[in-house]
């Protein structure tokens, strides 16, 4: 069985900055793997038997090569970095389209696992869009995933309870962040990972035109963004006499509004 796990690197919370076009600034920020995506990987590694392969895939800047290698150390068999300047600024549709292209390029996966949503954008749209682009079903908010006679058996969390579903492959499942804790990398895994390469895929390899990906391929555009706590991240300088009280006053007024 071939399992694909889609991972997203998100800025470590508390360090988020946006540029003039309201895009998250990922270049300078410290990144971490999205927690729900880690749960998806752990679910995949738990399912995996000796003959199965787990491929991790992420879309993002070149500096994600080392973090991907760490996922190899934790037990993934193959790591794919989908990276191209043309992919920058992609919304959920453009992202899902690119990931689906990569999934097709890499071959037939029986199971695609993702986190149910990322802690930076919080849209929760991408898993379903990837599934739609690939023409396979998508089950969201999964708490557990198991294999039974070639079908995938999923416990899906609803507001009112849990639904148990059995779905034939291929299928895309998006995982909740709280049921699987990603295992630690082991010494043997780290040694193995040292000799493995992270495979790179760019727009040319995927046959994507500039119009179909990145900012140009996106359907949504952020036109405004507002913070409820102005000035919080740029604290008062030590000798700025009034900055502290002024900032606090502004903050309180904002909250009272």
């Amino acid at each position: 069985m071939k399992i694909l796990v889609c991972m997203k690197a998100v800025p470590s919370t508390g360090q988020v900055q946006v540029d003039g076009q309201f895009r998250l600034q990922r270049d300078g920020a410290k990144l971490q793997w999205n927690i729900a995506d880690e749960a998806a990987l752990e679910a995949a590694l738990t399912l995996k038997s000796a003959e199965d392969t787990v491929t991790v895939l992420t879309m993002g800047p070149a500096k994600l090569e080392d973090p991907l290698r760490e996922l190899l150390a934790r037990g993934a068999d193959r790591a794919i970095l989908v990276s191209d300047p043309a992919f920058a600024g992609a919304d959920t549709v453009a992202t899902a389209g690119t990931i689906a292209k990569a999934a097709e390029f890499l071959g037939d996966f029986d199971l695609i696992l993702c986190g149910r949503r990322a802690i930076d954008g919080e849209t929760g749209q991408t898993p379903a869009m990837v599934a739609a682009a690939l023409g396979i079903p998508c089950i969201s908010n999964a708490e557990s995933v198991q294999l039974q006679n070639g079908a995938v058996f999923v416990a899906r969390r609803l507001e009112s309870g849990t639904v148990l579903l059995s779905v034939p492959c291929p299928v895309c499942v998006s995982m909740c962040e709280y049921t699987y804790t990603l295992r630690l990398p082991g010494i043997m895994g780290m040694r193995r990972a040292k000799s493995k390469t992270v495979e790179l895929l760019d727009s040319a390899a995927l046959g994507l035109s500039p119009q179909s990906c990145g900012l140009k391929g996106s359907l949504t555009k952020v036109i405004s963004m507002d913070s409820k706590f102005p000035g919080l991240r740029n604290g008062p300088k030590e000798t700025d006499l009034n900055a502290g009280t002024d900032a606090l006053l502004a903050m309180l007024q904002e909250v009272v509004k």
Binding site: S12, K30, Q32, R74, T181, R183, L184, P185, G186, I187, M188, G189, M190, R191, K194
Partner: protein, 357 residues
Amino acid sequence: MISQNALRHAEKCRFCFMCRHLCPIQLQTGKEVNTPRAKGLLLSMVNKGAAEFDKDMAQTMYECLICDACVNDCATGYQPPLYIREARTEAVVNDLAPQAVMQLIENVDATGNIYGVQKPSFAQEGSDVLVYIGEVAACKVPQMAEGLLKVLAKAGVSAKVLDNEPASGVMLADLMGYVDEVAQQAKACAAAINATGIKTVVVLDSYDAEIMKQRYAQWGAEINAEIITATAYVAKLIEDGKLAAKAACGTLGACHDDDRLARTFYEFAPIRAIAKAAGYQLTEMFNKERLAKSCGSAVALAYMPNIVTKVAAGRWDDLARTEATAMLTASPEAYLCLSQATPEGKQVVDLYSALAE
């Protein structure tokens, strides 16, 4: 290389000199590299491409007891052991760890413990509590394990001890950091404990208690029972009147607060209560409780006996400046290390055996 989080701690420590006076290895070797600052600085240099992580650097990262004296001192909360442990992982992965360390890891692979021997069994049946003996007591300080079991029997506690008691993982964690191999040991240990169904686990070695209480749950190795240090458990038996105090033995002693009781559990009163019940008159060393100087750990003693013996001698120096003739301990690790350097006219006392007699 090391994680972003560990690197953040290293970068904060690299220019800070505040805790060097507490490092027991620095005090004995006098080496600048044996300060938390230097270790942080070196890892920062590696990250910037200004230094190479070579065998010498790996060796340096093992010259640390992970006694947490530096962590305890930091007013801001930075933790040198965080990056030191990760650097050890790096060393093992890249075959740069000292030969003596690699030998211990091979011993764990072969026998489950660093000593490379079949772990002696203290198995017995019981229903009130499960006693976790640990490798150090089982292999090196068996009289302390026997002493504790006798004390419990005396108090009418029905204590079970596992046959083939699995390793807690704490020693492997000191040798190679918090890696999956350690988590696997933790899971096996938790499973064995849970299988007994007993709801109280009395842990003889505070190092084992630390990893069980602080790490197991986050690795998915929950223990479905209360974990309690043997010192706290026995002190409670004394308090509840289940163990009678012994007559004064006429010896003046000072209690050694081992690293984990001192700086993980902040547990100070129980060992003193046990010492009093064992008939000792008590005085205190100046550096006590949270500031108690480490006398070494069993795993460090196994891979750098010369340095740890000096560290133990440093603790005896503290005792020498008191009137006491006995160093009192309820930790198998401390007992083992202190025994390497017992000065003439002094004795290290295993409090469980003393109480059991």
